[in-house]
Amino acid sequence: MKRILAGAVALAAMGAGSAALAQDIKIGVLYPTSGGGAIYGGPAMVGHNLAVDEINAAGGINGRMLVTVARDSKLNPAAAASAAKEMVTKDGVDVLMGGLSSAVGLAISEVAKQEGIVYLATIPKTIQMTTSKLHPHVFRTSSNTDFEGDAMAQLIKKIGGKKVCDIQLDYAYGHDLADGLKAALKRHAPDVEVVLDLRPKLRATDYNVFITQIMGAGCDVVTSGLWGSHFVDFAQQASPFGLFNNIKAYISGGEVASHEIAGKMGDDYPPNVISNTYELWYHAVSPNHKVFQEKIAEKSGTKETAMWPVLSYTGVKFYAEAVAKSGGTKSEGIIKALEGMTIDTPVGPRTINAADHQANTGQFWGPMVKKDGFSYKVMDPVTYIPAEIK
């Protein structure tokens, strides 16, 4: 009897404990924080934490505090999916957020669909998430491969490119960007011809076989979405062949204009590159943006900050606004609130389209050039290309 009583007391205590915890709103966040992806996941967490801290410092949402449950997505769809599932079933998170690579984004989205929990994709760009694999619980606050391809097509038209060689990584992001670009070329510049389609494997290290095919194809523009170290390796291997000097432009998605890449490559950064980024620490679009950049700089310990914080920050802000608007964390309410919602982000207002759950997140685009006062190439002039398909 005594034991049963003790058990009942313990159970009651546990119940009370979880009731107290239920006050908090648990955000399950997935960025790669180990291995090759940690370079992105680390800064992404900085932006995420800043948004959470700001909201909690202001008293939370209707008095409820935000709590982050972070797991490593490891740039691996299987690992990300099982981590997401565990966060839903074991940790009892109220929402899933994050993801980096397109393959991981699709995997988390699948979990969200099965578990009936809202997932805000803050970085993955594959168009499939908001088209063929769209479901009520997935939202995207980053750009996507159609927007990116559209911007690239506009730039090809602008510089008068005629023959394009396209080199894309052989997985969801690369394939979808290639498709987005081709569709956009038909709209913007139907006379432009894509003469070569190359698909090196993700994590390939030797690009010579592709570089020499590009050299022989006689194209005046090379388009690509090789990102991160893929771009560094490609550029280092292509430069001795003179690839970048023999074309009008290397027009690249995958944010190789970001300071993370340009800063590390210094004088080795190749000429004639036009690329994109979500954020440039040396370019503020508004006083608000400047304040945001200073906060991120403080948290990062350097003023030359990465571009990822603004994305993760925006995701949290969208969710917080949805909780405030719907008055709770129930998925149905959050979905309804997010559809058509507009919030102010550090880089301007962003609206989530109710039909396809995609935010109109555009990017900064421009040529990478040498400039006084910088030891590496910087984007100049910077142009914001809005996210709209005409």
């Binding site: 090759g36 030797d206 001795p240």
Partner: protein, 309 residues
């Protein structure tokens, strides 16, 4: 006929009609193969003598790439000083690992050995992140090898040509070491009968240590040589270690010549395969592995009966 080929594979048609293009692909194959040979030779050497399959070889390669970045890019020393520093650094690390850890497992089952080397992969992978952070770096080419060299029929990147030359030089040096020096003869004897060698008063553990140092230094040196075109970044060892295993298994574990031929074959199959059938880049290397395993399970230059002890 050519139209038919073009229909089937545009890349093959270019190879057949454009000798310059074919020649460049040949150089691509050799230079890639030679860089892999330098690394894989170390892996093969260590297996040949120590009979340990060292999964940590890839992470040694990664350390080599990081060390050359620090010495060459950060400290401003010449590139070759950095490359030698990479080899030396990995030699020192290898000596410590062999003396403290490997020595315990020579008599253990292969599974235990695999687990230990895998543990080293994880520990050193994290150690690299502590030392160098998680961002990717970019390593410049040495100034003298920055551009391209005129070969008469085509220009080709000077740095890659250097790889084509340095690979065979290392092959010759290793061959000379193994066949013409006292150390080489003792090493050979140690692979055949270490008890007898020990009974003759030879310091067998010292031979083991020296082999492990040399093999690991090759990984470090190979990583340094790869750094200008394969940027140092966490996880860069993952692809490399698989490529090395394909090479040493095709060539025959423990065989120097086998590793050399395996590396060349790997380069040829990858590069020409990628041109002829772009969707199958990796498939060709594994197909090569499969065919060799079916016909000669012990590898092209291996011995039918796996040594064991």
């Amino acid at each position: 006929m050519l139209d038919l080929i073009r229909e089937f594979s545009p890349g093959l048609a270019i190879l057949l009609t454009n000798p310059q293009f074919a020649f460049i692909q040949l150089l691509n194959s050799i230079s890639q193969g030679m860089n892999l040979f330098i690394i894989a030779a170390g892996l093969s050497l260590i297996f040949g003598v120590l009979k340990v399959i060292n999964f940590a070889h890839g992470v040694f390669y990664m350390f080599g790439a990081y060390v050359v970045h620090t010495v060459f890019m950060d400290w401003g020393a010449p590139f070759w000083v950095g490359a030698i520093a990479s080899a030396l650094a990995l030699g020192v690390i290898a000596a410590i690992i062999e003396r403290t850890l490997f020595r315990q497992i020579y008599e253990a089952e292969h599974l235990m050995q695999l687990l230990l080397t895998f543990a080293i992969v994880l520990i050193m992978g994290d150690l690299a992140k502590v030392i160098w952070g998680t961002e990717q770096y970019s390593v410049s080419y040495p100034a003298s090898l920055k551009g391209a060299t005129d070969l008469g029929i085509t220009f080709y990147p000077s740095y890659r040509l250097m790889l084509c030359i340095i690979g065979p030089l290392i092959l010759i040096a290793l061959y000379w070491f193994a066949e013409r020096t006292r150390w080489g003869r003792m090493t050979k004897a140690a692979t055949q009968d270490r008890e007898m060698l020990a009974a003759l008063g030879i310091n067998v553990p010292l031979i083991y240590t020296s082999v492990f140092i040399l093999g690991s230094a090759l990984a470090g040196f190979g990583g340094a040589l790869a750094a200008p075109f394969s940027s140092p970044v966490p996880g860069m060892d993952a692809t490399l270690i698989v490529e090395c295993f394909v090479i040493v298994i095709v060539g025959g574990l423990g065989s120097l010549w086998g590793t050399f031929v395996g590396a060349l074959l790997y380069g040829l199959v990858f590069n020409f395969g990628s041109v002829i059938y772009p969707n199958g880049q990796d498939v060709f290397a594994y197909l090569l592995l499969l065919v060799v395993l079916l016909i000669r399970p012990w590898g092209l230059y291996g011995k039918p009966e796996a040594g064991g002890h």
